[in-house]
């Protein structure tokens, strides 16, 4: 009997949570936004999503194979990256944008740094910025059959007026998955209920952003203006799905609040004082780079040394 028994260090029980389960839930949570994108923009959006996901998964598979590493696509993190990146692409982008973006996200931003858990930058965002810089005209062209072009934020920035209701529902120009606040929030609620993400980062991000634009936006406390900023652009998608990316956000609890506030302020700065109308992606990437510093200044004190309450 004794050679059948297993010995290992404590604890001897484990929770049911698993990496691939978590990743699958995130993919599921992105589905409302993706579905709305397809409904809103048509079949090209669906194609782009599929191509980007396939590109991410294949890149990871090939990378593992070439480097003779253990195949890691089973953790579904590449799928998450693929969907997230696709949701950040303009709906009428050519198919190869998804292919190139997916490969860049996985190979350059993730695998070259050591794979899941080792990358310091969110792969989807890294790839988006790479595409923005390399193929600016494609990535900033939001014209498609359904909409004439300018995103609500661009309209807002040039002083025009926008329909906030349409923005909340998502019937506006923009990237595939960012337009519908409702769809994004439904997915986010699902993740919050499952305990996969919490409100520390999205909450402090959104609150500090609101405060920032109330002070510096030039409109004072104007409900319509604030609502348009919240519903417009990538803020919701960014706050709930990209700023909360485990790997690239601080792990300390205080650090997460600080990170959220920082993102809120950066986004505000980029949107109001920057050249473009958008700012979420750059804010989060800059935030990613600052994570080690944030963690350093928010090291927990430990139980019995003043850290027992937090």
């Amino acid at each position: 009997m004794s050679d059948l028994m297993k010995v290992s260090s404590n604890p001897h029980i484990r929770s049911k949570a698993g990496t691939s389960k978590i990743m699958l839930c995130v993919v599921l949570a992105l589905m409302p936004a993706a579905a709305f994108g397809v409904y809103n923009f048509g079949i090209n959006a669906l194609l782009l999503i599929l191509i980007t996901v396939a590109s991410c998964v294949c890149s990871e598979f090939l990378f593992d194979m070439i480097c003779k590493k253990k195949n890691s696509i089973g953790d579904f993190s590449a799928v998450v990256t693929g969907v997230l990146l696709a949701l950040n692409l303009p709906p009428n982008a050519p198919w190869w944008i998804g292919l190139v973006g997916g490969a860049f996200a996985i190979v350059v931003v993730k695998m070259l740094f050591g794979g899941l858990g080792q990358n310091f930058m969110n792969p989807a965002l890294g790839a988006r910025c790479f595409l923005l810089i390399s193929f600016t005209s494609i990535m900033t062209n939001f014209e498609c059959d359904a909409y004439t072009g300018a995103t609500p934020l661009a309209v807002l920035k040039s002083g025009g007026s926008v329909n906030v209701f349409d923005m909340v529902v998502g019937r506006t120009a923009g990237t595939i998955g960012e337009t519908s606040m409702i769809a994004i929030v439904i997915g986010a609620c699902f993740l919050i209920l499952l305990g996969i993400i919490d409100l520390r980062i999205p909450g402090s991000y959104i609150v500090s952003f609101i405060i920032f634009i109330c002070i510096f936006g030039g409109h004072g406390i104007d409900f319509n203006y604030v609502a348009a900023h919240l519903a417009g652009g990538g803020l919701m998608l960014g706050a709930f799905f990209m700023a909360t990316d485990y790997v690239t956000r601080p792990i300390t609890i205080k650090g997460q609040y600080l990170y959220g506030v920082l993102l809120g302020i950066l986004t505000g700065i980029f949107r109001i004082f920057g050249a473009g109308a958008e700012g979420v992606s750059y804010a989060i990437i800059l935030g990613n780079i600052l994570v080690p510093l944030i963690e350093k200044v928010t090291l927990p004190k430990g139980f019995g040394r003043g850290g027992e309450k937090i």
Binding site: L4, M5, N10, P11, I13, V247, R305
Partner: protein, 440 residues
């Protein structure tokens, strides 16, 4: 700073207590030889005072304490000393042990007259606890009389009875509180008699409302004792977390409970203190939960120390399915054993037999930085990073990130979705750091 009845962090694992909680404690008599390892406590191993061939009685001292931080050992049956030799113990080592052949007569020594508690001096009370060989029976095995002799007894403000029993599957304290609540209370009163400025707190997790009710009822005329229901959460019974939940005082890893004016004893220890002080009886029994999904009839037993583990399994109806893993203690902090041919010691709280080993079922993956370990950690540290430092042997960063505040509770490994062996790595690093500190 008030007591919150809880602490930050912690987890809610499947508790498995239903398997054994409704069955009364059963007395069992040992059939085979009894084995008494000389080191069943923290401190110097005891020194045998009998030799091969001697006849001993139940309750007779067979080994004496070797210094202040040590504890004597008593025979728990009558019979003949068969050998003093190396025997395997639960942790797997072979250590010196006294082996007694049971004559089945259970002849007892005369424990002598006992003065009532009120007439005993404080020194006499501590002496009795020391003589009885009482050690912390929750698992640590620290000699109780040492704990009861703090430098400044007047500064002790709380004596906390650790009735939390937060480890999953364990129900021995629960049964004890239901069946012999007065003994626990009387034990607490013995300790309170030592500390004039102290109040007694019986800290019970609120998943045991029946115990809370009984204890409240029995202590309603005891002005010095309060019963406190704490939030049910593992590791509510960990010493530092318990003190914090019950009193609002937080001690770090460099401090003793006494530094915060607290003394903590668990249920079984208090009962042992009680029989030592009021009946002159040495520590001879303990309650052991024999449970797990591999066991036919899981329940609690009153076991004579020295009894072989095989006998406990037999008494619990044997295995109904082959166990894949057997744990000495609870599933969170106990250790896996590979041989059942070992004796019950003073610190053996449970024998948990599982048909599936959840640890080897899943492979370890890369850390996804999810922060679950951070949220769950009652030591309020960053387990994922500490484990990284441990893996690299980076003692400096490990200490800078407060690795020593880890209480080795196992919560981080439990919650980790990547199934990392966080606790294991952090534990071994802590051992190395402590060893370094001793050298200095």
């Amino acid at each position: 700073m008030g007591a919150r009845g809880t602490f930050t962090g912690g987890i809610h694992p499947y508790d498995g207590k239903d398997l054994s909680k409704d069955k009364p404690i059963k007395d069992i008599l040992p059939k085979g030889d009894l084995v008494y390892p000389l080191s069943q406590h923290i401190g110097a191993p005891a020194v045998p005072v009998v030799k091969k061939g001697d006849h001993v009685l139940t309750g007779q001292k067979i080994a004496d304490a070797a210094g202040f931080v040590s504890a004597p050992i008593y025979a728990t049956v009558s019979g003949t000393v068969k050998a003093i030799e190396k025997r395997r113990v639960t942790v797997g080592d072979n250590v010196n042990a006294i082996v007694i052949e049971n004559d089945g007569k259970y002849e007892e020594v005369d424990y002598g007259e006992c003065k009532p508690l009120e007439e005993l001096t404080k020194e006499e009370i501590v002496k009795k606890v020391q003589e009885a060989g009482v050690v912390g029976m929750g698992g640590a095995g620290f000699p109780t009389h040492v704990k009861l002799s703090p430098k400044e007894p007047d500064k002790i403000e709380y004596v906390i009875a650790n009735c939390a029993e937060c480890e999953p599957y364990l129900t021995s304290d629960y049964r004890r509180m239901l069946e012999e609540p007065q003994k626990v209370i009387d034990g607490l009163k013995c300790v309170l008699a030592l500390f004039d400025n102290a109040k007694g707190i019986m800290a019970v997790e609120d998943n045991k409302p029946d115990c809370v009710k009984i204890l409240k009822e029995l202590t309603k005329d005891e002005p010095r004792i309060t019963v406190k229901a704490l939030k049910t959460k593992y590791p509510q019974g960990a010493e530092r977390q318990l003190i914090y939940a019950a009193t609002g005082r937080a001690i770090n890893s460099d401090m003793l409970p006494a530094d915060a004016g607290c003394i903590v004893d668990n249920v079984d220890t208090l009962v042992a203190i009680n029989s030592a002080v009021r009946e002159n009886k040495p520590l001879m029994y303990r309650i052991v939960t024999v449970t797990g999904d591999a066991i036919a009839d899981p329940r609690n037993f009153r076991v004579r120390i020295g009894t072989n583990y095989h006998e406990l399994i037999d008494e619990a109806g044997g295995f109904k399915e082959d166990p894949e893993k057997i744990v000495n203690g609870g599933p969170m902090m106990g250790f896996a054993i590979f041989d059942l041919d070992v004796p019950t010691t003073k610190t053996a709280s449970a024998l948990l037999c599982l048909t599936h080993d959840q640890v080897s079922e899943k492979e370890e993956g890369p850390c996804i930085n999810c922060g679950r370990c951070v949220d769950a950690c009652p030591g309020r540290v960053i387990p994922s990073r500490l484990a990284d430092f441990a893996a690299r042997g980076d003692k400096e960063s490990f200490q800078k990130w407060n690795g020593m505040e880890c209480c080795e509770c196992g919560c981080c490994s439990f919650v980790c979705p990547a199934k990392r062996q966080l606790t294991q790595q952090i534990k071994s690093m802590r051992k190395m750091v402590l060893a370094d500190r001793k050298k200095k």
